[in-house]
Symmetry: C2
Amino acid sequence: MKVRRESKRVPGFSAAGVHAGIKASAPDLALIVSDVPASVAAVFTKSTVVGAPVEVSRERVKSGRARGVVVNSGVSNVAMGARGIRDAKQMAKLAAKAVGCEEEEMLVASTGVIGEPLPMNVLKTGIPRVAAALAIDGWNDAAEAIRTTDTHAKVASTKLRLGGKLITLQGIAKGSGMIEPNMATMLSYLATDAKIAPAILRGMLSRVANQTYNCLSIDGEGSTSDTVILFANGAAGGGALHGDDAHKFEVALLAVCEDLVRQLARDGEGATKLLIVEVEGAKNVAEADRAARRIGNSLLVKTAVFGGDPNWGRIMQTIGHGQIAWHPENTRVRVGGVVVFSKGRSAGPAARKRAEKAHEAEEIKIQVDLGLGKHSARLFTCDLTYDYVKINAEYTT
Amino acid sequence: MKVRRESKRVPGFSAAGVHAGIKASAPDLALIVSDVPASVAAVFTKSTVVGAPVEVSRERVKSGRARGVVVNSGVSNVAMGARGIRDAKQMAKLAAKAVGCEEEEMLVASTGVIGEPLPMNVLKTGIPRVAAALAIDGWNDAAEAIRTTDTHAKVASTKLRLGGKLITLQGIAKGSGMIEPNMATMLSYLATDAKIAPAILRGMLSRVANQTYNCLSIDGEGSTSDTVILFANGAAGGGALHGDDAHKFEVALLAVCEDLVRQLARDGEGATKLLIVEVEGAKNVAEADRAARRIGNSLLVKTAVFGGDPNWGRIMQTIGHGQIAWHPENTRVRVGGVVVFSKGRSAGPAARKRAEKAHEAEEIKIQVDLGLGKHSARLFTCDLTYDYVKINAEYTT
């Protein structure tokens, strides 16, 4: 199956993005709507404190049904107490009214400055405008409007044939740009015209998110507003997916989400490279995951990748510090596909040269085989550069 | 009690540092020796893989007695298998012979390149030379010889009167400079002429290390060779410390170790500021510690400190992501002594200006009161700067 980084029409869905006036000039308000009530599943930030829109949407997706989502960028509606909840509900109500659905069928998200109230007067005029702009071709506009400091909008789509029907699956995402005063919020919205029961959809998204969005880390931080929502409206016709077809759809969902996550990691703040860390041979999944996260979040490893240095010492030291069972003699480290450490020792200067050369690519893999068991894990991240420091230190409010 | 950043004579101890030839030109071999067998206590790296010298010394300090320690910089003797152990023992044996003590009474440490063998021929000629250089005034030379990329040697000392005797306590340390290909090893050696039983000494060092060395983090990484050793030789005379006197000594030990840790944090790679994170009001110690570590290791917080930005949003978001119980309404955040967030909202632009101004100092505190309980924790760290990226990315082997 081919995943394309371009938007497709998804039958029965429309989308839009406009400049409502929350930001000075960039698009800041997006709307995605299904013509009919769709099955819905979502995953949210695991932070102990969440934004008001997350609280509202988390409650609403429990029904398994929704018509759409309204999203603004510029102000995050985080840490606003009772007023935040009231404003998030009001924002969803305005969108529901504009598209003609029940208030509870509309989900809501916000990303941007924390500790400031949503400009409700701007939304009052903006939401009818974004609703009026809804179009089957509006996905790129929506992807633009949820952006913050991402350097480009992120779209991924695929088509597949299931039970004789041509199914479309499309996703948009925004990543790891910091907004005053700093939420690195990740938002992603997915839509398909396949017919899928809410309980099945929930299981699919949960499994796929664990392999994709939850394996994304720019700087080891998450935000109070991270949200992924998947809508399935059944507009393609036919019965609800099950068995083999459901499995095939999940494979497609994994491919689309992984592509979005690669785009997000590659566009991490100041990044010059997509870094994929793969750990295998771990005693258990928890240790594999911890090792991958330690390597991928290590400042020493990330600066080495920026510097084009296949530094197995830094990789092994950060694993050791992570209280992970391993033995140097059993461990093999590959950087850019080149074995740089195995059987307890360096693979020597020729291997090092080849691994250095591999850093010329835009994407680099660090692969560690701990040689202890059968468990593995992955992390999608990026290098740590001068520009990361610049973006985050020179930012002034 | 006054801690001074200068070396004092410690009765019954001598020290030395010389250029043996492991490094091209800088001092690279240190020796610290007590005239008589001393009580000894030590704490070592918690990494699952440790250097050979750590394995050897960890075994030897179990006796509670030692005469001294020999330390080289330049090569770390890590990941060298059976050869590493043999070389570490040989290095200690050479030092024991040169000073005239039992092999098992000599401890050993190495810091530097990993995956390369110790140059034993260099040590064979170097160790007798460093032993010949032993002097009661040799502490600064020893502090120089254990340095790697620290910008200066670190010494702290104090004197106190216990049971009618004037007691001296002195420590040296090296920090967070990376060595090819990257160990951020922390080494610290402490000596006192007080008389203290090994079991008492062990308890003291363990408690003090938990409040000092274990609360130091430059970049969230530890090394396979981190070592702190405390010798007490009783040269001051009198009975072994107990009760009030032991407590007073422990207070002095805490002060000296904290001073060394402040020096280490301030001299972290590329650092322009010492950053002290204090979390109070946590539900339990584990959460206080996790919150302090999350804040102090957050790239977003560390770059904000570099940028002079009292960014409470970043501080709160990293706490939330750390799965720590807290409520914005109960939480108070101070930066540089200025309340910037309390009762669920920003303290406003005037407070912000004052907190920005506080960044002009070389030392800045971030204090978070979670308002939930009585537990607290601290972390000593530094800001994250262009120079950190430069040092770690442009380093080439």
